[in-house]
Structure formats: C-alpha cells, structure tokens
Symmetry: C2
Subunit: 509 residues, 2 copies
C-alpha cells in the first residue's frame, strides 16, 4: 500500500512542479509586457495589446484555480503527504493553496461584478480627481467598500474584518499587531515634526530649485547604479512618469525613473529606491527561479529593501561623503556653493505637504497612517464613504498641521481605492519599520556599516542583505523572516529612534 501512496505523491509532485513552472513562465512574460506597455509600446498598439495580455492573465488565473490545481493541492495538503514534503515544496503548496482557497471562495458572479465595477471606478476616480469632485467617485467607492466588506467576511478573520484584507498584502498581519506599532510611530512622528517646526531651523533646500541638465542626470544615475549593487547585466534603467521596478526573471530586472530638470532629487532617489527593489530580486536564490518562490517575501518586506537603500543608505551623511564629489563633477555650477553637509541636510528636508508621493522620510508615515485609519474604520463600518473628505482633512490637520484646499490634493490623490487595494497602504510604512529594524541588526553585525558606505564599499552591505534576506525569495513569511533576520518581532522602536537621531542631526534639535 505504501508504495502506491508514494507513487501517487510522486506523480502529483511532478505535475504540481510543472504547473508551477508554467504559471511562473507566463507570469514572467506578463511582467515583460507590463514593463513594455509603460516604457516602450507605441500609442496606437496599446489597447489591442492590453487585450492580448488580458488573455494571458486570464490563462494564468485559470491555471491557478483549475481542477487540476485543486486535485493536486488536495493530494499535497493531505495529512500524511504534507508531512513528508521538503521545505521548498511546502512553501509552494502554501502559496498556491492560499490563492486557490481564496479565489474559490468568491462566487464567480460576484467576482465578475466586482471586476467590472473596479474598471468603471478607475475611470470615475480619474474624472473626479480631474474635476475635483468627490461626488463623482463616491457611488463607486461605496460599492467597492461594500464588496470589500463582503470579501472580508468570506475570507474570514479572527478579530477585525480589515485583517482579511491586510493579509493579501502582508500575510499574517492584523489590526491587533499593527495598531500599537503605528500608534507609537505616529505619536513620536507628530511630536518630532512639531519640534522641527518650532526650531525655526531650515536646510539649504534652495539648491534643488536650480536646473540640472537631464543628460547629465542620466549619466549620474547610470554611474551610481552598479556601485550601489545593481547588476546592469541583469537589468536595465529606463524612463517613465511613475518610477517602478519590474522583474522578468532573476537575470532580468528592469528599473525606471523620472528625470525632471528642476528637481534633481526626483530621479536620484527614485532610482536608488527602485534599485532597492531590483537588487532584492536579482539576489533571489537561482534555485527558486521559474517557481512561485522567485519573488520577494511580501509587499512590506519588499518596500523595506527599497526604503533601506533610499533612506538609511542613500540619505545618509556617509553616502554623500562618498558620492558628493562625483555629483559636483557632473554639476559644478549648480553645486559650487553647497557643502557636502549642506547637501546632506537638503536631501533630508522635512516639510508637511499634501501629496503622499512627494512627502519626506518623516511625514510620509503620517500620510500612510491617515489612510490606514480610514481604511480600517471603513471596513469596520465605523465611518461611511461620504464622510471621507471631512475625515481626511481633519486627520491632515491633526497629524501634519495642514488642510488641503481641494479633494484632488486630499482624499482623491491616490489610485489605490479605485482598484480596491484596501490593505495596500500599510505596506509602505511597514517597509520603513522593517528597514530600521534591519539597520539596527546590520550595524550590530557589521559595526563599520557606515564606514563602508563612506568608502563606497557597497558590496559588503549587499552581500549581507543577499545572505540574510534576498536569497530566500518567498521562502519565509514576512513574520518568520524578520525574526530570522533580527531575532525579534517587528517593533516600532527602531524607526522611532532612527528618525529622532537623524532629524536631531539634520535640524540640530
């Protein structure tokens, strides 16, 4: 009898791995088409090609929820079989099973209605933002929230319905865990911001009001990328309006950035940020390539790697001690009266502003928490969609001390809700929290951490990140991974301390 079971299991494993590879191959191709449509595709071909990629996306979805997948998962998750699987296979089964169970739990009709709704909602949101009229978006958003509440009930949760949505972006995360983390960070950030404002001190930010030739910017961005650890033979750097990183394969990770003549910071930190995402993907264990494991652990962990490189590394004094003399060679006229210390302080300027994507390292988290609190209250039924503009503006005043004069620069600014991405925003601040905790560990294990940066020895740092984080791909859940890396659960102290220290230095508090 035993032999028969083994043969069944063996056959199931072979089929499962082949299916995993097929899905991953198709996903790689979809990744390429996404990149191409944003970076290369000529205008007139986009609509029809979007239908073509839609067909491939549908194929991937069908494979993920196919009868074959269901049968294989049933075999592989059975009590006697799941015990004998190796770790990698267990994780693959976990990943596919979660998606399968969730997708299967939503009735097909409901999912179809919801898909049509979000497509329409995106148009409505665009129009509402353009016309500065929340009422245009309101009925769509109300319906989306209704669906999301329904989905949360179907998916199930222990304490808070929002947990079911958080789990899609950060597996295992709950309101219960997030509330205290964010509360601590919010209080200290509001307080720190208050002290910065009261100090009356400023940074020489006016350096960035000058023109920086775009061709020179491009050269400089290309100059730094390989030095900070991005392998240009396993990737590209191109231009788009909204910078992003797109993985095709581990050997083909594509970054984009945006060059603005009057804002040299935009491309620079955009490139470093996306490089953080890209290096993560380039460093995944090649053994996981062509499988569902080949990507990062979660949205939050991914964001930790981009924030770490952009902020903890790229906005450090030591980073600019190394790179500033080079930057001065590219822009001698613009930088002739700016010291490296002035430049360091300028790239760390803090100023409350309305738009999240333009916010500085300190106020950014307050933008996120405002959204988190709104999402949680909406899904929990404590506020209604029609209340959003008022709630938004009140929170902006409470946390940042400013009130948007229009909804377009307030509640209507982000695309996320129009595609139903509730639970997505927290990832951004989680990234900062993870990054600061990782920084503390890396500084313990590499006491010369900042000296390496100051000397341009980024390979020492990247090797540590590869060894301790990147190589694992999706092998560990985010919670398992942060404990494995730092020896403890995520907590807010490290980011709070990091921000306190940095801004005391920058603003001489």
């Amino acid at each position: 009898m035993e032999k028969v079971v083994d043969q069944t299991l063996q056959a199931a494993l072979e089929k499962f791995n082949a299916l995993d590879q097929k899905i991953t191959h198709f996903s790689s191709i979809i990744g390429l088409t996404d990149w191409d449509s944003k970076v290369m595709a000529p205008k007139k071909g986009r609509n029809v090609f979007a239908k073509a990629t839609g067909t491939l996306r549908t194929e991937v979805f069908k494979l993920q929820v196919s009868e074959e997948m269901g049968d294989l998962l049933a075999v592989l998750t059975s009590a006697e079989n799941s015990e004998v699987l190796d770790q990698v296979t267990k994780v693959k089964v976990r990943e596919y099973n979660e998606f399968y169970q969730k997708s299967k739990s939503i009735p097909a009709d409901l999912f179809q209605e919801y898909s049509i709704l979000t497509a329409q909602a995106n148009d409505a949101w665009e129009e509402a933002r353009e016309k500065n009229e929340f009422a245009i978006f309101l009925p769509y958003l109300e319906k989306i929230v209704d669906y999301k509440r329904k989905f949360a009930e179907i998916y199930g949760y222990e304490d808070h319905p929002y947990d079911a949505l958080l789990d899609e972006f950060e597996p295992g995360l709950t309101v219960k865990r997030l509330d205290p983390l964010f509360a601590e960070l919010r209080e200290s950030s509001v307080n720190l911001l208050e002290r910065i404002k009261k100090s009356g001190k400023t940074t020489p930010e006016e350096v960035f009001e000058q023109s920086f030739e775009i061709e020179k910017q491009k050269e400089f961005n290309r100059f730094i990328l390989p030095i900070i650890g991005f392998d240009m033979e396993a990737g590209r750097l191109d231009e788009t309006v909204h910078p992003f990183a797109q993985t095709v394969t581990i050997g083909d990770v594509r970054l984009t950035t945006r060059y603005i003549e009057k804002n040299v910071r935009s491309a620079l930190f955009g490139t470093i940020h996306e490089a953080g995402h890209g290096i993560y993907e380039q460093h995944v264990n090649p053994a996981y390539e062509e499988s569902v494991l080949q990507s990062g652990a979660s949205f939050g962990i991914h964001e930790s790697q981009s924030r770490f490189l952009e902020n903890m590394v790229g906005r450090s004094n030591e980073f600019w001690n190394y790179f500033y003399p080079h930057l001065v060679k590219y822009f001698p006229a613009q930088l002739k009266n700016v010291s490296v210390d002035g430049f360091y302080r300028a790239v760390n300027s803090v100023k409350p502003s309305f738009i999240r994507v333009e916010a500085d390292e300190l106020t950014y988290n307050l933008h996120i928490m405002l959204r988190y609190e709104i999402e949680k209250a909406l899904i929990g039924g404590e506020i209604e969609v029609k209340d959003l503009p008022a709630v938004w503006n009140q929170k902006m005043q409470d946390y940042l001390g400013i009130t948007p004069s229009t909804d377009s620069e307030g509640v209507l600014q982000d695309v996320h809700w129009s595609f139903g991405g509730f639970g997505y925003f927290p990832s951004y601040s989680l990234g900062n929290l993870y990054a600061a905790q990782i920084l503390r560990t890396i500084q313990k294990e590499i006491p010369d951490f900042y000296a390496h940066i100051e000397n341009g020895r980024f390979e020492v740092i990247q090797e540590w990140l590869r060894e301790n984080i990147h190589q694992y791909g999706k092998l560990y859940t985010p919670n398992e991974l942060i404990i494995k890396i730092t020896g403890e659960q995520l907590n807010a102290n490290y980011l709070v301390e990091y921000l306190e220290k940095k801004y005391s230095e920058v603003y001489g508090l």
Copy 2:
C-alpha cells in the same frame, strides 16, 4: 433538423473564433518577446526567459493541434458547412486546417527528434562557420535533409518533392512554376552583369568609404521614416545587429536597423527595407486584427513590399532628387563633392561579392538562385550534402564569376539550413519579381508615380499599396493576390526589364 445544424455551426464558429483570437493574442505576445530578446533584454536573463517563451510557444502549438481545434475544423470543413461560411471565415479555416493537417501528419516522435536535431545543428553550424570547417556541420545537415525528404513525402506533392517545402513559405508555389521564372531571370542577370563588367564603367562608390557620424545617421533615419509612410505612433525604430521588422499588433510594428560609421548605406537601406515590411503590417484592415488574417499574404509578398520600397522607390533617381538635399544638410562635409546623380549611381553600384546579405540589387537574385538550385537538387536526391561546397563554388563561378576562398564565405554563410528552412530562400527573389510586376501596374494606374516620389508625396503611393495590397492581410493566397493586383500571374519579364533599364541608366550601357 436544419435549425439544429445551424445551432451546431453557430456554436462551432463562436468557439473557433475564440480559439483563433486566443492563438493570435499569444502570438502577438510572442512577437513582443522576440523583439525584446533581440533589442532590450539584458544578457543574464536571456536563457531563462527563452524557456518561458518556449512554454508559451508550446501552448500555441498545442492549441493549433488540439482535439478542440480538430473537432471544430471537422465541423467547419464539412461539405454542407463550408459552403455557407463567409470569406473571412473560410480563409481562417483554410489557414488553421493546413497547419493542423500538416502537423498531425508528422508522428510526434519524429517531430520531437527533428526539433532536437535542429537545435544541435544550429550550434554545429555556428562552430563550423567560425572554424571554417564544413565537416562539422555535414553530419547534421545530412540528417536534416533526410528529415526534410521524409516530411516532403508525408506532406505530399504532385511533381517534385521540393514543392511540399516551397508550399510552407509560398502557398501554392511549385518547381514547375518557379523554374522558368528563375531561368529567365538568371540568364538575363548573368548577361547584364557581364555587360556591366565589360563596360569598365564605375560609380562614385568611394563616397561611402567616409565616416558618417552615427548620431546624425539616426536623426536622418528618423527623419525619413514618417515621410515614406511609416507611422511612428504605431511603431518604433531601434538598433540590432541584424535588422528586422516585428509585428506585435497592427498598431505596434517595430523596426530595427544597424548603424555603421563607415557605411551610411547599411542603416539607410536597412531602415527603408524594414519600413516596407512594417508599413504593410500597419495597413492591414483593422477588422482582421486579433485573428490569423492580421499578417501578410506570404513570405514572398511580404518581401515584395520591402524590396519595392527599398529598391524601386528608395534606389530611384527621384527618391534622391527629393531626399539628397536633406541628406547633404546632415552630412555637408562628406557630400560636398558628390552630385545627386553621382549619389544615385553610387547607391546602385553593382559588384559580385560572396555574401548574400551584402549583395546589390542585381547580383542578389543570383545568390538566391544558386541556393534554390541546390535545395531542389538535395531534396530531389540529385546531389548529396557532402557535395555542397563544390557545387556551391562552381555555381558562384558560373553566375557571379568569383569563387569563395573559404566555406565560411561560401556554403556556410547562411543560418537557414541549420533550422531546416528549406524552401525559404526563393521568397527573397520572388519578392523582387512581385515588386517589379507591381511597379508596372502602379505606374499604369498612377502615371505620375515617380513625380510623386520626386516631390515627396509618398502618401499617394502608400495609399495605393494600402488599398490594393496591404489591407487584405492574409485574405488572399499569393497567387490570387498578384492576379488581383496586376491582372496576371507572376512572370519574370517585368523584373528583367526593370533591371535592364536601371543599369543601362546607372552604367550608361
């Protein structure tokens, strides 16, 4: 009863069209990935991504030969049904049915062995060419020829086994039809070449021995493309070692060219040639998009459009009367002592040479005929693979009056045989034959044809090509199409006369 039949037919049509769309969508995506791998992809990602696209290619093949496809084709080709189908559906059924029947006729094992062989043969060919050792390629080519002979028998033919292979590239073409066409062209070409050589006259070709800044070349290529009719909003122009045109969708056709500083002709005529392919695809009736009809009629017809634009238009006196003053603005130093007439004669220089892809308009066809005769004799069993180097060199001497000193610049120069592409080469000269016949018709219908070119009114010409050729996509077989366009079957007179007239002018014979 009738109603039941109608419903069955209706259902079959819906499924067939959905399957056609899915296959075409996937093919569009494969088109993009092919382009990307040659133009954009970073080095380290290529191998794994090639596996991913291999998975998608296999999926397309599986759909094309699937049981579902077989069942649908059986319904749609049944006597009572095939009569009631509209023209477009009939053509779709014809296209899929031909592929289905051919693919089904080759036993799976045989096809698998053959696929492995051609993969190995490509490596062997590369090595052989590099080391200039035909013996390395010999055993592989022998096997490929054996398979091709077998395939020809399985596919079936009336007169000559090579017909079965020709049909794959030029549906309906046979040795019986091609032999007299090529014989006429060969005799007159050899004779004309002889007279040119004897005349002792030359063209001021030395103009091309100068350096032309690559950036300026790029600008000039981008300048001419939209003028000659390529829609830059529905396409791109990039760089590769081997220029090509790749269709993604009708609204997304991508060209590549190659810039060589010491050879301004290379990019220029490469770009015009590929634009001929590209404009064809941009002009296909949008109603055929997302279906198998969305491409050109055949390899030969496609080549006719690129040759027409490159040679009949792009190497005409009138073309340079219009463009030369612009070119002079881009390269004043290089062109200061060259008249427009001198330039025209220089771009039409004739000189026997060893490498097909570098050959001029006259000798090119002789390179093709040599290959055609060898392929025909190989498949017909009249010569054996081991004889190839000797046969090749003898024919080079007979037709071009030169003998290659190595096999690398002789029998080993082309990739085609290594992938089993027997029957492909004739398309190139067919393109020239079609193009000259089309030129004769267009000159009848637009008597000011060359005056339009001289005045830069390319839209008049492109509109005619769109209306009479391009819009039809794959709707007509090549033979149907040339008769529809020109009122007669393909014949060699027009190309013979065209070449005679042009070279009498260029060389003052």
